[in-house]
Symmetry: C2
Subunit: 190 residues, 2 copies
C-alpha cells in the first residue's frame, strides 16, 4: 500500500517536528512558497496514514495488503466484474491491478475468465475462499472503524466525507497544466 508511517520508530508526533523545522527562526531562509505544513496533499496524506495504520496490522495478520483488501472488498459486492471496472472500483491503476490479480488468482482467492464476445476483456469474481477471507477480516475492520467513528464523531465524519467529495468535484473540471513543449528539459538534468 501506498502510504507511509514515518516517525513511528521514534514515537513522536510528526507534526511537532515539522512545525519546529519550519518555524522561521533567526537563521531561517526566506521561503518562496507557503509553509510546508499548510500543504493540502500533505494534510490528506497524514490524515490517511493516521487512519490506515490502524488497519494495516489487522490486514497483515491475514496476509493482505491494503490494495489486495480493496480488491477483495470490491469483488465481494458483485457477482463478476470486468478488469477495467474493477480498477475504477478499487481505485487502482491497471498495472497494479494486473499484478495483484495474478497473485490473488494464484492464492485461489479470485477466479478469472474472459468475455466470450470480446476476448480482450477479462472477468473477475471472488472465490469461496476469498469470501471466507472477507468474512474473517471484516469484523475487526468494522470494529476499528466503529472506534474511529466514536472518537471523531459520526457527524464530523460525515461532514468530512462531504467536504472531501466536494473537493474532488471542485477540481474535477479544473484544467491540467498544458504539458507544453517540454522546452524546460534543461531542468531535468539538474
Amino acid at each position: 500500500m501506498p502510504v507511509n508511517k514515518p516517525g513511528a520508530r521514534n514515537g513522536a508526533n510528526p507534526r511537532k517536528a515539522a512545525a519546529r523545522a519550519e518555524q522561521a527562526g533567526p537563521a531561517a531562509r526566506e521561503m518562496p512558497m507557503r509553509e510546508f505544513s499548510r500543504s493540502l496533499p500533505m494534510a490528506l496524506l497524514r490524515a490517511r496514514e493516521a487512519v490506515m495504520r490502524h488497519f494495516r496490522a489487522s490486514l497483515r495478520k491475514h496476509g493482505l495488503t491494503e490494495q489486495q483488501w480493496r480488491i477483495l472488498r470490491a469483488l465481494g459486492g458483485v457477482e463478476t466484474i470486468e478488469v477495467t471496472e474493477l480498477a475504477r472500483s478499487a481505485y487502482l491503476l491497471g498495472p497494479s491491478l494486473s499484478r495483484i490479480l495474478r497473485d490473488l488468482e494464484q492464492r485461489g482467492l479470485i477466479e478469472r475468465r474472459s468475455v466470450k464476445t470480446d476476448l480482450r476483456r477479462g472477468l473477475v469474481s471472488i472465490s469461496a475462499r476469498g469470501l471466507s477471507l472477507i468474512e474473517a477480516v471484516a469484523p475487526s475492520s468494522e470494529a476499528i472503524y466503529a472506534e474511529m467513528t466514536r472518537r471523531y464523531g459520526a457527524e464530523r465524519l460525515a461532514a468530512l466525507h462531504e467536504m472531501l467529495s466536494a473537493l474532488e468535484a471542485s477540481l474535477a473540471d479544473m484544467p491540467l497544466p498544458g504539458n507544453g513543449h517540454l522546452n524546460d528539459e534543461d531542468d531535468a538534468s539538474l
Copy 2:
C-alpha cells in the same frame, strides 16, 4: 509520492463506476461490510489524488517527483537539518529518504555532511542549484494552489485543514490492535 490516478485513461469519474459496481442489484451479494464508497481511507486517497494530479505534470517538467519536491521544500526552509528530522518534516520513511537523498546529492541539488560530535547523524542542506530549482517550480505550484483555493473556497479549505488535523489528533492515541501472538498465521497461506 504515493498516490494513484486510475481511470484517467477513460476520462470518467471513478466514483460513478464505483457506485455502480456497488449498487446492490438483484444479483448483488450480501456485504459483511460497509459499502466501499464510504471507506474513509478511499475518500482521503481520492481527494489527495484529485489534488496531486494537478501538480504532477508541473513537477515532472522539472524532473522531480512529488517526494523529491517535498524534500526540497523542507530543505528550503532551513539552513541544515538532520536526516531524522527531515524524514518527519517531509513525511517520508527512512528508507525512502535514504534513496532519494542519494539521488538528489548526485544531481547536486543537496549537500550532506555528518555531525562532528556524533558521526551517526547526517546533516542535509540544499545547494544553490536546489534553491534555484525551487524558485523555478514554486510559481506554477503556487498558481495551481491559488486556483484550487478559488474553486473550493478559502474558508472551506481552512475548515478542511482543521478537520483533517482533528482527525489525526483523534486517532493519535487510539491503541493499535495488539499484534497478538500471530496465531492466525493460517490465513496468511490463503
